[in-house]
């Protein structure tokens, strides 16, 4: 029983760290650029396929493939920002968010056209495990958790301690005032997309490492869970995305434990995730680490 509970807790942490890692980038864009980027899942998927080409096509190891995915996705994100989103900024933030829905569909079908609908996997052994007596974890899962635990605080420190990070937070607080005080708002916007794209690429690769088989629907399948993580943790907060993701992951996985009145039926796990979100927002609308705002 204890072994089962320990394994479920680990599973929850794995799920949670993946949601956190994929959510950090979305949280930044949501918090600073005020855009709900519905194409975030497709940015992740793009990164996954770039890494696939490097890992399987060019026989590179996963580290190089992940770095390549981050770079490519960053370029994609910035490119779309300059080509589509910045010119349309005057249309309002709701319209921009809706435009990202169209972008998502377009990117997904482009990936289907180019990469095909078949299932792929990275060149890693998905059945290898570290047997730690009461828990078992695969090397890929361990790496994904470690990456998340490192990346989220690094992003938070970047926002808190560097000049660019502080400028990003200033733009997030008050775009007009930031502009008046000398911050190049447009350049900061580009940096935000660059960072968000790189994080999406990294998050996508780690997600694919943990999940195993993937196809071009990878990112879209978890997009709403990612948004749930972002809102739960507090929009714009990297630490919030980390904690929010872990909370969600643990809730979803531990809910199936038979010790909790027989355990929740597995198919209701996503329902529980949204139920937790709703309950939290009722009492803390800004999320765990978000700042209360008056609109």
């Amino acid at each position: 029983m204890l072994e089962y509970l320990a394994q479920l807790t680990l599973n929850g942490l794995i799920t949670g760290t993946i949601l956190a890692l994929t959510g950090v980038g979305a949280s930044l864009v949501f918090g600073i650029q005020r855009v709900a980027n519905f194409a975030h899942g497709e940015y992740m998927t793009f990164g996954v396929y770039v890494a696939l080409v490097l890992n399987v096509g060019f026989r590179q190891d996963l580290v190089i493939s992940a770095v390549g995915a981050m770079a490519a996705t960053a370029v994609l994100a910035v490119g779309i920002h300059f080509a589509v989103l910045r010119p349309l900024r005057g249309r309002g933030l709701v319209a921009l968010s809706l435009i990202t829905v169209g972008l998502a569909l377009m990117l997904r079908h482009l990936l289907f056209l180019v990469a095909g609908a078949g299932i792929h996997q990275y060149r890693i052994d998905q059945t290898a495990v570290f047997d730690l007596r009461i828990i078992r974890v695969s090397p890929g899962q361990a790496v994904a958790m470690a990456v998340t635990v490192i990346v989220a605080p690094v992003v938070a420190l970047f926002l808190a301690r560097t000049s660019v990070g502080k400028a990003m937070r200033a733009v997030s607080d008050n775009r007009d005032l930031a502009g008046i005080s000398g911050i190049d708002v447009d350049r900061i916007g580009a940096y935000v997309w660059l960072l968000a794209g790189a994080l999406a690429g990294l998050g996508g690769v780690m997600f694919a490492v943990v999940q195993g088989p993937f196809d071009p629907n990878l990112g879209s399948q978890v997009l709403f869970l990612i948004f749930t993580t972002v809102v739960l943790g507090g929009i714009g907060s990297a630490y919030g995305a980390l904690v929010g993701g872990i909370v969600l992951g643990l809730v979803m996985d531990l809910s199936t434990w038979s010790g909790f009145a027989g355990g929740l039926d597995a198919r209701f796990r996503p329902v529980l995730a949204f139920a937790v979100l709703i309950l939290l927002l009722l009492y803390r609308p800004q999320g765990l680490f978000g700042k209360a705002r008056v609109l």
Partner: protein
């Protein structure tokens, strides 16, 4: 004009009017254009089999068209109006089907392959518009959508899951004993939940137990917790109901638990050969599928498909289903002398059951000639004798048992006849 001239003129007019009311072509043969469409998931989870399904339908229409032209029957036409992608998603399937019916005005839809999509399309499009559907879905509820006493609209050329569930129970009982403890896992959709329920009923009725019964969302980021739950209690065996792509997402964490034994695992029809679907097989695992290759013309169909199908489309035995469906609809239309779906429907049982001279697609020209001469025919599909019932179901009950082999391939171990 004098009155005497009016009588023969009137007679000619009457004959012309009579002929105009009855589509009759050259030499007294019927005249109609039968419009087909294919509907299958060509992207997403069902992409690989969906593209093959579409191709099988296209080749069948092309074969009939060529035969008709060779026979000089220019007044009888078959057309593949369009092929639409349902993406394996009910909503997309309904939108696609609406286009096929409202824009292309098709008479027969060959598809969808999936029960969930078929169910949605049947309710929203096919039944209200009285367009025939030949589905690859195996949910027994599909043919129950046909209104009793009316010509069936939904036709199921593959035995439904209420048979498959009982077949699985029988196979597992033979392998592991009828009182074995079997954990069941099924994907959360019309196919998975329905088949899992049928199996559970059949299994527990026979004295077995199902300690863990898990219906999971295959779109979850990870299925590690489901895998963990499935190995709890050291069951005697497992049954999985899923498609290969998402089953692999569950199977890999199962292997990581160290407690899963594929040789004690059984799968539903779509798990017979996952390597062919682009993922891996799990040596020792067994799965069952309705036998769709027992027809005498199956080798010829296979050869034709491999020769003429588009590059990159992989052959599978179950492609005989869309293939046969096209021929059945055509021959029924020919017997009905009409492309009207409701009239076609009333002749499907006739052309697929005895009595009558037996024909396969290889003798299509002879079958056409026989029908035009007013003779009764009995069409046997490449999948085997179809013998449709008026409710839209087939009554053939042979099942193949497949096993994943140590070299990663999969092959049929045995074919059994199931007596309901």
């Amino acid at each position: 004009m004098c009155k005497r001239g009016l009588v023969p003129l009137g007679l000619v007019a009457v004959v012309v009017l009579l002929l105009a009311g009855q589509p009759v072509g050259a030499a007294g043969s019927p005249a109609f254009t039968l419009k087909y469409a294919t509907l299958a998931g060509m992207t997403g989870d069902p992409a690989i089999p969906g593209q093959a399904w579409t191709e099988a339908g296209r080749l069948a229409v092309e074969y009939i068209d060529t035969t008709l032209k060779t026979m000089g029957l220019s007044d009888i036409k078959v057309v593949l109006s369009d092929s639409q992608d349902s993406q394996g998603v009910p909503q997309a399937g309904v939108e696609a089907a609406q286009k096929l019916v409202n824009i292309n005005h098709v008479d027969v839809i060959i598809g969808d392959m999936w029960s969930s999509v078929t169910s949605a399309v049947a309710r929203a499009v096919a039944i209200p518009n009285k367009v025939l559907m030949f589905t690859g879905g195996t949910n027994p509820a599909l043919t129950k959508l046909n209104a009793p006493g009316s010509p069936a609209i939904i036709w199921q050329p593959v035995p439904a899951d209420d048979l498959q569930g009982r077949v699985l129970a029988g196979i597992i009982a033979d392998a592991l004993g009828k009182t074995a403890r079997i954990n069941v896992a099924g994907r959360n959709d019309a196919y998975g939940s329905s088949l899992a329920a049928v199996f559970k009923d059949a299994w527990t009725a026979g004295g077995g137990t199902v300690p863990k019964y898990i219906i999971y969302n295959h779109q979850q980021p990870t299925l590690d917790s489901e895998a963990q739950e499935l190995v709890q209690g050291n069951p005697d065996g497992w049954l999985f109901i899923d498609f290969c792509q998402t089953f692999t997402k569950l199977a890999q964490p199962l292997m990581r638990t160290g407690k899963w034994d594929p040789s004690k695992s059984f799968g539903s029809d779509v798990l017979i050969d996952c390597k062919r679907r682009g993922v891996q097989n799990f040596p020792g695992m067994r799965a069952t599928q309705a036998n769709t290759s027992s027809g005498t013309s199956f080798p010829a169909f296979k050869a034709l498909f491999e020769q003429r199908a588009k590059r990159g489309v992989t052959f599978a035995a179950d492609l005989a289903e869309p293939w046969d469906s096209v021929f059945v609809a055509f021959l029924a239309a020919l017997e009905a002398k009409s492309s009207d779906p409701m009239q076609i429907s009333q002749h499907i049982v006739s052309v697929t059951n005895p009595p009558g001279q037996e024909y396969t697609f290889q003798q299509l020209d002879q079958a056409i000639k026989a029908i035009l001469e007013g003779k009764k025919i009995h069409f046997n599909g490449a999948s085997g004798p179809l013998q449709f019932t008026p409710e839209g179901r087939v009554s053939s009950t042979a099942y193949d048992i497949w096993q994943h082999k140590p070299d990663g391939t999969s092959a049929v171990m045995k074919t059994i006849t199931f007596k309901p």
